[in-house]
Symmetry: C2
Subunit: 222 residues, 2 copies
């Protein structure tokens, strides 16, 4: 199927009940950025289903600018890991004092073990949506790819799959390493697989890097 | 509550069943960008609950850079509508031929009628997460705000509320009009309320502006 899920399955407007809403809250609460994966494979038809669901995400002007690349071969994965190591070394050297050691102690990615990996790009030259909604905010094209990543992430967690978003990468280097068009901009690199463990608290909170603070709450009024 | 939902409610790792997953797929399918709202008010405790859920969204380095501003007073809303009109006029004049009329015929926002409106900003100067994951991809800070908007949107639809994302605005003009700090960058302006009608297909597809094309599918392999 190349055009997303069969929408015949969704003919009637849904009414969601409290049980669904409670589970949705649990889904948000237990979604995590996962960096520790079991080596077990992920069924291809399951991945296809998750990618189909991500197609239903909102996009500016209905531009659907997401472009998913499955990073599958060992040479391609090696190039990604090499770029991560470069960028990570640069990041370490940007910290001072006790942050250096604390940064180095963090587990930040599962590039070595995640059985499934996607580079998710934004096609900046898309003719779709023709420009609607992006004259003053062209960045909404990349934001549209983020909404697709969010949907994929939640749908994956709903079947028990873990997703980890790696951003310690040079977007242009990854694009070139994966031989993608020059108009594609890397938005997210995703590691996907069955997680070793489930957590309610973010890894970076658990390891004392950054606690939850409730920033943004309460809401300002104007 | 200022620190997000009470996580005691979520003590045990959840197992989601097929009924939940089917409803989650329906939620993705029936989420829409809504521009037609009924004037009925939205209960404040419901909005608080949705904002609490959005706090559970992923953010780079756990930076939680989202800043929600409730645009509530008529003077503030008037400034937003005025900016929309300016940007919209500029957008119309960027099209040629039959696209001009087709653009002008589209309903692109519910700024006049949406009972609840939020400007959602990214605090670019946040000290949280300290810089982790954004040395090579600083834009992941804004992407983190998009994930919060995505969560809010889905949680809203799960209670039957409609959300519309307006991007035909000048981010800096809106920040200034709402008297927000100079380090805050507008990521999304959201109209929220009870929708006049439910739809399975996007408004822009329904009105012949941009169809769903399944772009990004099938997935490239590397």
């Amino acid at each position: 199927m190349t055009h997303g899920p069969d929408l015949q399955d969704f003919a009637a407007p849904p009414t969601f009940d409290n049980a669904f809403r409670a589970d949705l809250a649990r889904l948000f609460a237990w979604r995590r950025d996962v960096r520790r994966f079991r080596p077990d494979p992920v069924a291809e038809d399951l991945l296809e289903r998750l990618l189909d669901l991500a197609q239903l995400s909102p996009s500016v002007g209905n531009s659907q600018p997401w472009r998913w690349v499955r990073v599958h071969t060992e040479p391609a994965r090696r190039r990604v890991r090499e770029n991560f190591r470069l960028c990570d070394a640069e990041a370490v050297s940007s910290y001072a004092g006790e942050r250096v050691e604390r940064y180095a102690a963090l587990k930040l990615e599962g590039l070595q073990t995640a059985p499934v990996q996607f580079a998710v790009f934004c096609e900046r030259a898309t003719s779709q949506g023709p420009r609607l909604g992006r004259l003053t905010m062209p960045e909404t094209l990349e934001y549209s790819v983020v909404t697709a990543v969010s949907s994929f992430w939640l749908a994956a967690r709903a079947v028990g799959l873990g997703v980890g978003w790696v951003s310690i990468l040079d977007p242009e280097a990854i694009r070139a390493a994966l031989d993608c068009p020059a108009t594609w901009h890397l938005v997210a690199y995703l590691c996907v697989g069955w997680p070793v463990e489930d957590h309610l608290d973010p890894e970076l909170a658990r390891f004392g890097w950054q606690a939850r603070t409730g920033s943004g709450r309460p809401v300002l009024r104007r």
